[in-house]
């Protein structure tokens, strides 16, 4: 079983460790650069000198010791400190005037401390050894630190203190950071939990500071907006599909019922032919919905090839010419500019443009004419149709692009409302757009494909 450590604790530990590591690195570096063994050497020397004096006392008694002290003092070693102290630590002879601060009790052995060598002078740092000669007589022998050694001692002490402080500060920092992170993350987590529980309207709270957590939150919110929009679209699409398939299935049923009821074979065959064409229409709706989905998902891009937009338009115009003529309308082919070759899906582009032509035939009306065009604009190749029919009002254009989008009854004559949706999906597949513009009067519907794409 793995030990579950709360994330905030882990962050705190990490912060402590990092603070410690960086502080210790600096402290260690300073220590390494400034430490030498001068202090140790001086200490050793003080201990040796004290041992020598103590030997003198043991072998020669107080008189020999006094003589030795006198000799030592007259040698004029500026660092040497010697003194005979009474039981309270007050110097009776020697070259120091006081221990600073005066100790409550004297203790034998080495210590670092401060002594005064002049009555009013500042205490100086020194290392010295105290030896008890008799209950009222103590021998002090030692050496004052020079300025350099004193500084070094201070530094070493400060470094030790710094280590202790860095541990403390690291802990405090770690806890603060952990608390902060936990607070911000728990805001996001709480939102995610509610969203996971089904409340898709919930969003990650944004503090407004624009920091990384805010950015994360904003990204999550943008993603959620997109998901909600897609789900909405999917729901509408599913509803529409279910709704729009009801009528052809209903017609199918009623024709089958009628065919089953009739005794007249001729009539039955006619009805069954109608059944087949209804079934085909149903299949066509399903295939088109599928095609739109695939195009929006950028499938089939591997089937792209270079093609001449003028040729594509001309082929389609030729294909539709008899149909348009039979419907009583007429059209002409126009090329503006020199359309650059397109890297695209000939089949899908042809299907998309044929939808636009179909719409023009349907809505331009008898006796009217429309234009099928290929045009090179600044950045796009535009392929489409311009008619002088009723057009589509600004407010209705979004509806027109929607799958199963229905405009007012005058425009919904026949068709499943998938034509423009497919054209738009194919435009997206080519990283382009479906444009619906006012042709004053009428509609200019075209697919604009960036030539750089």
């Amino acid at each position: 079983m793995t030990l579950q450590v709360p994330t905030s604790l882990r962050i705190a530990l990490l912060a402590v460790t990092l603070a410690l590591a960086s502080n210790l690195a600096v402290i260690g570096f300073i220590h390494w650069r400034t430490y030498d063994d001068a202090i140790d050497a001086q200490r050793q020397r003080v201990v040796e000198e004290a041992a020598a004096l103590s030997d003198v006392y043991r072998s020669g008694g107080p008189a020999a010791l006094n003589a030795a002290l006198h000799d030592a003092l007259t040698e004029g070693d500026p660092q040497l400190l010697v003194a005979i102290l009474d039981g309270k630590g007050t110097p009776r002879s020697g070259n120091i005037t006081a221990l600073a601060p005066p100790p409550a009790r004297l203790k034998a052995g080495y210590r670092d401390g401060q002594v005064r060598i002049a009555k009013a002078g500042k205490p100086i740092d020194a290392g010295y050894v105290l030896r008890r000669l008799s209950p009222t007589r103590w021998l002090l022998s030692g050496r004052s630190y020079g300025e350099r050694l004193a500084l070094q001692r201070t530094l070493q002490r400060s470094l030790l203190l710094a280590v202790a402080l860095s541990v403390l500060l690291g802990l405090v920092c770690g806890l603060l950071i952990a608390r902060y992170v936990a607070k911000r993350v728990s805001g996001i987590a709480a939102a995610a939990t509610e969203i996971g529980d089904g409340d898709l309207s919930r969003r990650v709270p944004i503090s407004g500071s624009g920091d990384a957590f805010d950015q994360l939150g904003q990204q999550i919110n943008v993603m959620l907006d997109r998901i909600v929009a897609l789900m909405q679209e999917l729901r509408v699409l599913t509803d529409c599909l279910a709704h729009d398939l009801r009528s052809p299935v209903g017609r199918l049923r009623s024709r089958i019922d009628a065919a089953m009821a009739t005794d007249d074979e001729e009539k039955r065959n006619l009805l069954l032919a109608g059944v087949v064409s209804e079934a085909d229409a149903l299949m066509r709706i399903l295939t088109t919905v599928l095609e739109i989905g695939r195009s929006e998902a950028m499938a089939s891009r591997d089937q792209f090839a270079w093609l001449d937009p003028r040729e594509l338009i001309a082929e389609l115009a030729e294909m539709y010419e008899p149909l348009v003529e039979d419907s009583g309308a007429d059209f002409r082919l126009e090329t503006r500019g020199v359309p650059l070759p397109l890297f695209g899906h000939r089949q899908l582009l042809a299907q998309a443009i044929s939808n636009l032509i179909d719409n023009a035939v349907k809505y331009a009306g008898a006796g009217r004419s429309f234009v099928v065009f290929a045009e090179q604009s600044d950045r796009d190749v535009c392929l489409g149709v311009a008619d002088h029919g009723p057009g589509i009002a600004d407010s209705e254009r979004a509806e027109a692009r929607r799958r199963f989008g229905r405009l007012d009854t005058s425009r919904s004559a026949g068709g499943a409302g998938l034509g423009l949706a497919l054209a738009e999906a194919v435009a997206h597949l080519h990283r382009g757009r479906l444009e619906l513009e006012d042709n004053s009067p009428g509609l200019r519907a075209f697919i604009a494909i960036p030539t750089g794409a």
Binding site: T287, L290, E291, A299, M319, Y320, L323, Q351
Partner: protein, 244 residues
């Protein structure tokens, strides 16, 4: 000069005894196809597994392979590619529920000769199968052979058309339409076959755009002649040939 055969009334009597391999895992579809094709006088071997299919296809001497794209064992397209890599040139008709234009193009690019989307009508399948037989037999004629259907005479080199000795002036596309009909004379040609073969479009336009072309062609062919030659076959498509 090849002479057009006399066309009997029923399709079945023309294409006797073809050997067809059917690779299809859906038992209902398979039974429907086996029954239908057998009624047409064909000899159908059916397997439900892609690996068995590949084994039979490379060994057997089939006139046509009808291949479902999604069969267990070996994916239909992989089977097809393996077949073509082994230089087996048997015509392949893919049968698939994958209906998008992209899927169709992918299927055709993988080396199939035709692609039919499920659900399909048996008439459509039969028409396409017959067109493939004909093409494989070379009965459809080479590019420069004159085509004769009843009193209609087509010269592919000059792209000229005569009916009963009278020249008929056709637009280039009308000519291509007629030539395709003539190469499949006496047989049903469906709208989607025309769209695919004459226009090279693999989407369903959903309008009667093809019918309008055909009726224009018919007007030109039958102008000043008593005998109809381009017939509408209800629920299926068209047929070029003498009246039945």
């Amino acid at each position: 000069m090849p002479v057009a055969p006399a066309y009997p009334h029923a399709e079945s009597t023309i294409a006797m005894g073809r050997k067809i391999l059917l690779v299809e895992d859906d038992s209902e579809t398979a039974a429907y196809l086996v029954r239908g094709l057998s009624e047409q006088g064909h000899n159908v071997d059916h397997v439900a597994d892609g690996r068995d299919g590949l084994f039979l296809a490379t060994g057997g001497d089939f006139d046509l392979i009808i291949l479902d794209r999604m069969v267990p064992g070996l994916d239909g397209l992989a089977l097809l590619r393996a077949l073509r890599a082994a230089e087996v040139v048997t015509p392949v008709l893919i049968l698939s529920a994958l209906a998008s234009v992209g899927d169709r193009i992918e299927g055709l690019d993988s080396g199939s000769d035709d692609y039919l989307v499920k659900p399909f009508s048996f008439a459509e399948l039969l028409a396409r199968a017959n067109a493939l037989f004909r093409r494989a037999d070379g009965k459809a004629g080479t590019a420069d052979m004159r085509l004769i259907v009843a009193d209609l005479e087509i010269d592919p080199l000059a792209r000229s058309v005569k009916r009963g000795g009278r020249a008929i002036l056709l637009q280039p596309r009308e000519y291509r339409l007629l030539e395709y009909f003539a190469r499949n004379a006496g047989r049903v040609v469906t709208r989607t076959m025309l769209l695919e073969q004459v226009w090279d479009y693999h989407f369903d336009p959903g309008t009667n755009v093809i019918d309008v072309h055909v009726s224009r062609l018919r007007r030109k062919l039958e102008e000043g002649s008593e005998q109809p030659i381009l017939h509408t076959v209800r629920g299926a498509g068209y047929r070029l040939g003498p009246a039945e």
